[in-house]
């Protein structure tokens, strides 16, 4: 409709406005849209919420409701919503809102722990949490069953499940400087860590769980030896000074080293969670385990200074056992002080081979026979100084041909083996004897006599000189005599020619005698009748 104005009226008439009339205003679209958007937001919020879980903590130190995150490999997968004390006030119950689609993380063996800055000898972890505050770590399990209630670990697991490798169990009486995270060395290469340790229920030993990363875990075989490579192992023993270290790291914080003896046959890798003893030193680790030790008693009547438990017992320089105990005893009856030394012999363990051993033979009887024969052959125990620097001593068995006869009394427990004074002792005794004998010698008298004899000798020598002079003249005359004799026997001399003539005469005489005798033989009557030929 066109504009119309009523001029007469003081109030002007408004212009016409045509507009369709609707009963319900379009403005209602706005609250509907608002409601739709609100519902959509609410639905997406609810949908974006993952499962809710509860975690029980020992302490909520560093945790904050609404702030503390749950992170897996650095990815946030949840947030703590509330933290409250358990009804018995022993624990802290925390509820956490997980991210959507994390249901399959929440398995029965899933573990949670608080990541805080942790400075242990070997490594510093969780430094980031110094600024950002603690967060919760999660290790996703492998179970098939889901769970919503968890108990957080007190200490974070050193090794999370996704690192390939194997766990092994070590048993030790002394934890030394080991701690969670202490490195495990193989040929001085760090190949693992100590994952946990617990004191056994009886309080005698620790069960130490170690993790050896793949591929090094294959070098752990059933006969692998583990020992504490803690710091510097300095040993001053009868065998001298020995220093054993692993790496510089282990010097600072200790460690566990393992090695498989090369001489043994190559065995397959040990199963996971196999139990091994943890030795204190490498040397101890390599000592074969006791097989069949026999205890013997040695009584020394001399100072056992320098002898300590663990000192070696050697037979002709080969270790056959070790000293176990050193005591002192006084025989009240005879009032005699002696020092029994208890030794353990385990020759077999120490590599002494038995030749020609029939299977099933009575080892104990054989052993007795061997010892009896050795003692009969003069084998005696003797204290010897192994190291002059430290004065540490050891027990040596050796053959002494001059030893007094002895027998082993097997009825005693432990049986006693015969001893002989130590080397130094024997030397000392011998020297003493010599000195004593020297002392007894009448040196003064000997001297006097000697002097007298010497003066006599002087006189004798003077007369001897005179004698010699006369002897000299005698010899001179003898020479002239001989010269004359020489002249006599010369071939051209008169005497010799005369002798020749005389001899010819003699020959002639002898011929005529023979003629005579021949005639007489044929004509013996001639002696009485005379020569008949002419007469007849």
């Amino acid at each position: 409709m066109p504009d119309e104005r009523t001029q007469s009226s003081p109030v002007p008439e408004s212009r016409m406005l045509s507009r369709s009339r609707t009963r319900i205003s379009l403005v209602w679209v706005i609250p509907i849209v608002a409601a739709l958007v609100g519902t959509w937001v609410a639905v997406t919020r609810i949908e974006s919420e993952g499962p809710k879980i509860t975690i029980v903590f020992g302490s909520a130190d560093g945790l904050e409701a609404g702030k503390t995150k749950i992170e897996y490999k650095g990815v946030e997968i949840g947030t703590l919503r509330s933290i409250e004390l358990s009804p018995d006030r022993r624990h802290v119950l925390a509820t956490a809102q997980m991210a959507p689609k994390t249901e399959d993380f929440l398995l029965e063996d899933t573990k949670f722990w608080v990541v805080r800055p942790r400075i242990s000898g070997a490594n510093v972890t969780g430094l980031g949490t110094l600024i950002s505050g603690a967060y919760l770590g999660i290790e996703i399990g492998t179970s098939k069953h889901e769970k919503r209630d968890f108990v957080a670990l007190e200490t974070p697991p050193i090794v999370t499940g996704d690192v390939p490798g194997r766990f092994f169990v070590l048993k030790t009486a002394d934890l030394g400087s080991l701690d969670i995270g202490t490195p495990v060395f193989f040929r001085r290469l760090q190949v693992g860590e100590i994952a946990s340790y617990v004191l056994d229920k009886d309080g005698r030993r620790f069960t130490v769980k170690i993790f050896v990363k793949a591929p090094y875990d294959q070098y752990v075989s059933p006969n692998t030896r583990f020992w504490q490579a803690s710091g510097v192992d300095l040993q001053l023993s009868a065998s001298g000074l020995s220093v054993q270290t692993q790496s510089l790291l282990s010097i600072l914080i200790g460690g566990v080293a393992f090695e498989t003896p090369a001489n043994g046959s190559i065995l397959p890798a040990a199963d996971a969670n196999s139990v091994f003893p943890l030795y204190v030193t490498r040397a101890q680790a390599y000592e074969p385990p006791p097989r069949n030790p026999q205890t013997f008693e040695l009584i020394f009547n001399e100072s056992v200074r320098g002898l300590a438990p663990g000192a070696p017992v050697e037979l002709r320089g080969i270790k056959v056992g070790e000293v176990v105990d050193i005591r002192a005893q006084i025989d009240v009856k005879r009032l005699k002080f002696s020092v029994p030394v208890i030794i353990e012999l385990d020759a077999q363990r120490l590599g002494v081979k038995l030749l020609d051993l029939r299977p099933g033979a009575d080892l104990a009887a054989i052993r007795r026979r061997v010892i009896d024969s050795l003692v009969a052959d003069g084998v005696r125990a003797q204290l010897r100084t192994g190291n002059l620097l430290t004065g540490s001593a050891f027990v040596a068995f050796d053959f002494f041909s001059v030893a007094p006869l002895a027998r082993v009394d097997w009825s005693q427990n432990p049986p006693q083996l015969p001893t002989t004074p130590g080397q130094l002792e024997a030397v000392e005794a011998g020297l003493g004897d010599v000195v004593k004998k020297l002392d007894k010698m009448p040196l003064q008298q000997i001297g006097d006599n000697l002097q007298k004899s010497l003066s006599d000798l002087d006189l004798t020598l003077v007369s001897a000189r005179a004698t010699l002079e006369s002897a000299s003249t005698t010899l001179n005359s003898a020479t002239s005599t001989l010269n004359t004799a020489n002249g006599l026997v010369e071939p051209s001399s008169e005497q010799i020619q005369e002798v020749g003539q005389t001899l010819q005469e003699l020959r002639r005489a002898a011929r005529s005698v023979r003629v005579l005798t021949d005639y007489l033989e044929q004509h013996p009557e001639a002696l009485i009748r005379g020569k008949r030929g002419e007469a007849q």
Binding site: P12, E13, R15, V27, I30, G38, V41, S132
Partner: protein, 213 residues
């Protein structure tokens, strides 16, 4: 204004909201245009109660996510944290910072809710034709209208902070989804106040007077 005052509507006249010119609508029509400035003229704002209700309900609907959803996400080296308005109030509350906390509490929580409640009360009162304490209701309306623009303080603060605090590696502030709803609440309440015709407060009184007369 006395109860017995004559209203323009009773006289069949319409006042222009913009230029103030009083005019008479074309006979047979309740609506027209201002002969001077061309503004739409009505005796009373068209479907004003309905519109006001619609805006008010929309505002009330948006008020819930505005308070539940975070309005500000602060990312620092320590990690990200999202805060709702109420969390912000709690966060600011400290022996020295309590006035600031109070400002946020009043401007962002109390005023919007008070606006929604006040408008709802006015609308109900108008619909029921209540005549008691009309003057106070008018004062309430004036207050609501005046205060409405200040509700945007929170939105402004948030947008400024988000724009200024962008020290990326160290710290960053981002507006959260709650802020949109909060802004919607403020805008919708303003629209509701705008669509509400305060003259309705007095119409009931005039009608009652006319009946008595």
């Amino acid at each position: 204004m006395g109860a017995g005052a004559l209203t323009a509507m009773q006289q069949g006249l319409q006042g222009c909201d913009i230029c103030g010119l009083l005019s008479r609508p074309t006979p047979g029509h309740e609506e027209g245009r201002c002969p001077r400035c061309g503004e739409t003229l009505e005796f009373r704002k068209r479907a004003c109660v309905q519109r006001a209700w619609a805006f008010l309900i929309a505002a009330a609907v948006c008020y819930v996510p505005a308070n539940v959803l975070p309005v500000l996400t602060t990312t620092t080296a320590a990690g990200a944290s999202s805060d709702t308005i109420l969390q912000g109030v709690v966060l600011l509350w400290s022996p020295t910072g309590w006035p600031l906390s109070l400002i946020v509490l009043v401007a962002s929580i109390m005023i919007p809710s008070a606006k929604i409640l006040a408008l709802g009360y006015l609308l109900i009162a108008v619909q029921r034709g209540s005549v008691k304490s009309n003057e106070q209701r008018t004062r309430l309306y004036r207050m609501v209208e005046f205060i409405g623009r200040w509700s945007m303080v929170d939105v402004f603060v948030d947008t400024f902070t988000a724009a200024l605090v962008q020290l990326k590696p160290l710290m960053a502030v981002e507006p959260g989804p709650g802020l949109v709803f909060f802004a919607a609440v403020v805008v919708l309440t303003m629209l509701a106040v705008e669509s509400f015709d305060p003259r309705l407060i007095w119409d009931a009184a005039s009608a009652m007077e006319a009946r008595h007369a």
